[in-house]
Symmetry: C2
């Protein structure tokens, strides 16, 4: 008997009909002889509705109460999924994060899972029940307070439960067919990947691919739990994210991210500690810095550019102005019309010249590269936002990432 | 320093503006130097919305999952009230029934409070916080399951918390000014009562007065916690429900109930055990029987009439047919056009002739009395539903229960 964890997002449980469809799918898995743990998100836009309600009360709600509020969303969806399973003739029980033994630290709004205590889920499985668990939430054993896990929390719940209960696979159901070589909305010819390594998926997720959040991939990698990203609309296989042992393709995919802005501080004195001052200020102000590029020094001065989430651009600009004034640097430039395009592939490690091919291909399309950053399996370029689709399409075509007319095997 | 429990119903927290108004009221109470425990219901019609969602999934949801679903409602309202208090500059913390130590039996959907463990509330009060508690819910220590208390559950939560924490008063905020001598929608001249005894309030509540449920009055009486029923729209005093030591008015009020139906089983053999058979059948079928009247025996046969909730009338009729056929009794009559009118007053105990005055006054208005039942402080008559307003008005006027033009004192 295999244990399977299945996670359904908000769209999959968005209304009663969809909940019934999800229940039939779970029932099929259970009737096939598997133990099933299901993780659900809140229905459709209900989390956004709750956030809007809170905003009508106060612009600055306490994080602890915000968590109390938001956890109502999964409570509703999980109870309804359990009801739908009963209607299908399958015994089921819904558990809150706390009841499911999901212990976290006490960072309200962005808690991290610290431990999973498995008794209650194990007992319910032993009684032959499907267990439905509220995603995105847990409880802090220190404070006995309910916490939420922040963005991507439901995926993290699912993979962590799969790890703690030694599941065979964690299935993430979504509204797309799997992980693609590029965003199919931008490149319609992008190819669905049958399989991708944890490392590559991590880079894709960190570079803007929205299908799976990096934190759940990290948990999957740490505990070696295969993650199967698949469609909730049909039963075709999706993409397996797992430890790969085979030789790997040089390039797996292209991700892009249009949610960032670029800040440039010009004419910074090129002395030790300057970068530290600047990024301590950003960190102190809660600004998340992604890429950082420092140009070569000219006459004792240099330019520092970095990217931040666009919603934090204004704040980042203000902090940079303050530090710049202190250091006697030149003007601050804020560019909110950029995009980051990233090429990811485990095989890049052993293949030279990939970066050069990327830069040449973009140059041939007259796409200007503003910033560059690389890891052993990723090359990221900041380009003008207007050129992003062209850049993604160019790289997909350059590295043969399109759908092929007739696939052989799976 | 006094401890005050304040309970706000669904209408009072129906939207963000109302929640802010409630928060200002709580803040005033807190700033006046009181410790405050607040009990809230779910917002407006949200419980009905959740029930409708469940009905869209299945006609027969498991009670355990129904409780999980419905408890999301208070979770939302309590978090929002806590946020609104923070915005008012008052420290507050919201607690679920389970966190507030409200232990119940494990009857999902109609659980009874068995014990209140006070540590967490006491600690929060000691930290200077207002404590917001979800009404209507608790946790069963046997099963570790979340339970709901059923109808009137939030009032019961409030009074039970007041008892457990030795509150000075339990304030029940509502959309009317207090308890009236009769329903003001039926008798516009009905008078607000400044005070009423627990016993009278119990009879009023059991006889159809909707302002306060009997179960919360019972808890108040048992632990001698004064209940102040008052308006959430202004600060005028409402009605105090409490142990009265003064001489009491003969009649306090008139309640009516149009939610019942009458079942008559004619020609029942007048032998021992017949009534037992009939009402065992009703009980076994889950039918709640209220009044029972058995006529004098004629030729070894008798008629038995009883009232049941109108929504159970059809079922009661079927059960009566079955038992009647077995006993060889006559036809079953079902009358769904009845109303019960009840006169309540602690002073009736020591005053004779009240019943005769009631019957005479109704007869003078040509109102036919179908059934009669009495307790030491109540006289209830079943009358045709068409005559109910006339009957209530007649009794209000007969016993001087109208608003007086100029009140002296409070």
């Amino acid at each position: 008997m295999a244990l399977i964890v299945q996670k359904f997002g908000g769209t999959s449980v968005g209304d009663p009909d969809r909940i019934k469809r999800v229940a039939r799918r779970i029932a099929d898995t259970s009737r096939a002889g598997n133990e099933v743990i299901v993780v659900v998100s809140a229905m459709g836009r209900s989390t956004d509705d709750l956030i809007a309600l809170a905003a009508d009360i106060t612009p600055d709600p306490p994080a602890r109460e915000m968590d109390m509020l938001l956890t109502a969303g999964e409570r509703i969806s999980m109870a309804l999924v359990a009801m739908a399973l009963h209607a299908e003739g399958v015994e089921a029980v819904s558990l809150t994060g706390s009841q499911a033994g999901i212990l976290t630290d006490n960072e309200h709004g962005s808690a991290k899972i610290t431990e999973i205590r498995g008794d209650r889920i194990r007992n319910s499985l032993d009684e032959g029940k499907v267990v439905i668990v509220a995603g995105f939430q847990g409880v802090s054993p220190d404070t006995k307070e309910v916490t939420t896990l922040g963005r991507g929390g439901s995926d993290a719940t699912a993979v962590a439960l799969a790890a703690a209960h030694h599941a065979e696979v964690c299935e993430i159901y979504t509204d797309v067919d799997g992980v693609f070589t590029a965003d199919p909305r931008v490149v319609p010819t992008a190819r669905k990947l049958d399989e991708i390594s944890f490392d590559e998926m991590l880079e894709l997720a960190s570079s803007g691919a929205g299908v799976l959040m990096a934190r759940s991939v990290e948990v999957g990698r740490r505990f070696n739990i295969p993650i199967h990203v698949r469609s909730s609309f049909h039963t075709n296989p999706g993409t397996w994210v797992k430890e790969t042992t085979m030789e790997q393709a040089i390039v797996s995919g292209v991700a892009h991210d249009t949610s960032q802005a670029k800040v440039t501080v010009a004419g910074v004195p090129d002395t030790p500690g300057v970068a530290a001052r600047l990024f301590e200020a950003m960190s102190g102000g809660g600004v998340n810095v992604d890429m950082i590029v420092q140009n070569v020094s000219r006459a004792g001065h240099t330019d520092i550019s970095f990217t931040v989430p666009r919603i934090q651009a204004h704040k980042a600009g203000q902090l940079a102005e303050a530090v710049g004034a202190e250091l006697g640097s030149g003007p601050i430039d804020l560019n909110e019309s950029i995009a980051k395009v990233s090429l990811i592939g485990a095989g890049m490690k052993s293949e030279s010249g990939i970066a050069a091919r990327v830069f040449r291909a973009l140059a041939d399309k007259s796409i200007n590269i503003d910033m560059i950053s690389t890891s052993s399996i990723r090359i990221s370029c900041v380009v003008p936002e207007a050129d992003v689709n062209n850049a993604v399409g160019t790289l997909v075509s350059l590295f043969n990432l399109e759908e092929v007319a007739e696939e052989v095997g799976a």
